[in-house]
Symmetry: C2
Subunit: 432 residues, 2 copies
């Protein structure tokens, strides 16, 4: 049996995990697959830094060409992240006849169509299990395990950092800022956490899940994305009082011939399994026609967690390579019944509304008058105790309304002289 040579580009956290597994499980993996996986070269711009694993100096290079141009290397593992130069490295690897493993959701969300097309053209595969849900084998499950299914929706908690922050706020009764600082201290948030807390990372992963389920790449600009930075402890507590938990959800679902694709803070019922997902965990629901609703749940971050997924991709590729399978083993078929991506304006949802008002008579009348004008009816109102001099929070739950109408109503409400700050609207999901 041919041994498989691997070149790793990106010797950071996950890269170190991959090295560790390939070192420590060498015989274990060989016994399982009947071939040896040989880590031949590692490239990183910093090859002298301290890492949790040690490798022979001769394996290290800071020139990616040493891997991309090595004819003996069968699989290139790209773990540097970001768009450039990662995309170029993957293109070069494919052009040189190598298979690719990557965890790069940002790149695949942006240039996936082009990269997968190039791979198909060149008879090579790109595997990307670690890009969604880290070590949770959800991509394999959707692509292979559910191969005979058509999908109605896929949704869940895809970003561990945001989920950690929201559940810390909820359990520790602390502010967003305090929870974010804590996440940074514990290594669960980057120095610049914008990608995570603004929902972009979730959107990237959702784009990949939509590709797997519906066979098409949705452009990031067509995904409605709203992060968690406006969620306050007050909202978490008010929501809980009325039986809801606030989660940052990524949601894709078919409605007729349209596909809704969106990421935003969402109120989910307290008794729903998603409400109980805490910390850096991820949870992905997949709704398919033959099987129904499946949930995959597990840690969404961790060096060995993500590395486990990378290694499973390498193993899958060794099977392809030794079988001489020089084309994608499973084609992704576009779901022809999906004709359009629904505009967020057209989506109908129930809402949680919270605004801070002056404690004066008539405020509630003004607000409900504006809502009424846009055909929005109120399911419940709760005027809270005064928090600071003269300012009281009012929490409303609205009946189902069109997003467009909510926005127009909020624009007017925000202009009322009695409204302090901007009103906060959070969508409610109960249809899964």
């Amino acid at each position: 049996m041919k041994n498989i040579n691997v070149g790793l580009i990106g010797f950071g956290t996950v890269g170190s995990g991959v090295v560790k597994i390939l070192q420590e499980r060498k015989k274990f993996l060989k016994d399982k697959i009947g071939a040896e996986i040989i880590l031949k070269k590692i490239c990183d711009k910093n090859i002298s830094g301290k890492r949790p694993v040690s490798v022979e100096k001769s394996m290290l290079t800071s020139n990616a060409g040493d891997i991309l141009n090595d004819p003996q290397i069968d699989i290139v593992v790209e773990l540097i992240g970001g768009i450039k130069p990662a995309g170029d490295f993957i293109r070069q690897a494919l052009l040189k006849g190598k298979h690719v493993v990557t965890a790069n959701k940002a790149l695949l969300a942006e240039e996936g169509q082009e990269l997968f097309d190039l791979a198909r053209e060149r008879g090579r595969n790109i595997y990307f299990e670690a890009s969604v849900g880290a070590g949770i084998p959800v991509i394999k499950a959707v692509r292979e395990g559910l191969v005979a299914n058509k999908f109605q929706g896929v949704f869940g908690i895809l970003n561990g950092t945001s989920n950690y922050i929201l559940s810390e706020m909820s359990h520790e009764n602390c502010s967003f800022q305090k929870a974010l600082a804590d996440a940074k201290k514990r290594g669960f948030a980057e120095a610049n956490p914008a990608l995570d807390i603004e929902g972009i990372d979730s959107a990237h992963k959702l784009i990949l899940l939509v590709y797997l389920c519906f066979g098409r790449f949705v452009a990031l600009k067509d995904v409605f994305v709203e992060g968690i930075s406006r969620i306050s402890l007050m909202d978490i507590n008010y929501a809980r009082e009325i039986g809801w938990q606030i989660k940052l959800l990524a949601i894709a679902k078919k409605s007729g011939d349209e596909l809704e694709v969106r990421v935003h803070p969402t109120l989910v019922p307290m008794e729903h399994p998603l409400a109980s997902i805490t910390g850096i965990n991820n949870a992905i629901f997949v709704h398919s026609d033959l099987v129904g609703n499946l949930l995959f749940y597990g840690p969404g971050a961790g060096w060995l967690t993500a590395a486990s997924a990378v290694v499973s991709d390498i193993v899958d590729l060794t099977k392809d390579i030794r079988a001489g399978l020089f084309k994608p083993t499973l084609n992704i078929i576009p779901d022809q019944s999906v004709r359009r991506i629904e505009k967020i304006d057209e989506i109908e949802s129930r809402y949680y509304l919270r605004f801070m008002t002056e404690d004066k008579p008539g405020v509630l009348g003004n607000v409900s008058g504006i809502l009424g004008k846009f055909g929005i009816s109120i399911a419940s109102v709760n005027q809270k105790e005064r928090k600071k001099a003269g300012v009281v929070p009012i929490v409303m739950v609205l009946h189902e309304a069109k997003e467009k109408n909510i926005r127009m109503a909020l624009e007017r409400i925000n202009k009322l002289p009695t409204i302090e700050d901007k009103a906060l609207a959070i969508r409610i999901e109960e249809t899964f």
Copy 2:
């Protein structure tokens, strides 16, 4: 590309689902895999019965030999269940050079080692995704997705019928008998439900999960199995009062060099995700060293659900066949650190104890005296309101104790003249 010919043995509920999917998704699957899956022949002892799908008469046979001896058939799908003649059919299929797909957990739990050895010898594969968790792709996840992992444990709710009964009792506040009758009416329980409610079906599935995680077949006789037929509504309600839900759990976990393998009703904390798994759903937790705790959750029964898994196995085999891979694609490696199956007597656990006593002074003293003699200490006692004349239930939660000691203590307690009926002990799990 070579087309793949499939012969189906067993045209019952799941068999009909497989036929339906292969008929209705013919082009869909061909587009995905680049080869056509042709259902060539269907065998059942009853070929004239009514079914939810229609097939050409010429495809039907009541002689399995018509499939097993057909040199054009590449894959034999066995869906008749039971040990005989299913095992013989699978052996013949392998000897004739065919790959096998089966959903037969009872057979694999009993004769799996021999069948997998034969398959390896003959360079053929046996796939069995539908045998655990129906359409939940948990076998693929464990074998392929977690290929680099070593496992600490696997446990969960593996039998939909029992879970349906327990959650009906809990939600409808009804008796075991009523819930069982309801399950039968809704098609969730067989006419003879013993295999399901006595825990045997869960044990069969657990044996397969242990094989996948730890590389060895445990004999059914070495699995401690206790069903749910002694659980009363009273216990469900008492348990809930003190924050627990009763679930039929299948549990395999490493402790030192021993493996605990057991199936029994179990108290799980109300806030644990397993507590919220209702109806016929299954939920499987897999604890592995690189990824940590993963949960797979979804419907554990349904004709299309299980058929979806069977078809995914067929698709995997078409990949193997067209690649000329005439050997198992992934070997199962025995975990050498497991040396023994722990005897149930040696297991340590906390317990919920419930007994019915005469409402006389001194009863509690007698019981706690006996427990004390065996070194068992009581965490809490709750004497309940009288249910029938003179008889009161007493509920105790015990601190961690050895199973052996509990048994000896119960034997004595059951002999007390003041104890009506036999005491019920339910194990408590909180270590996952």
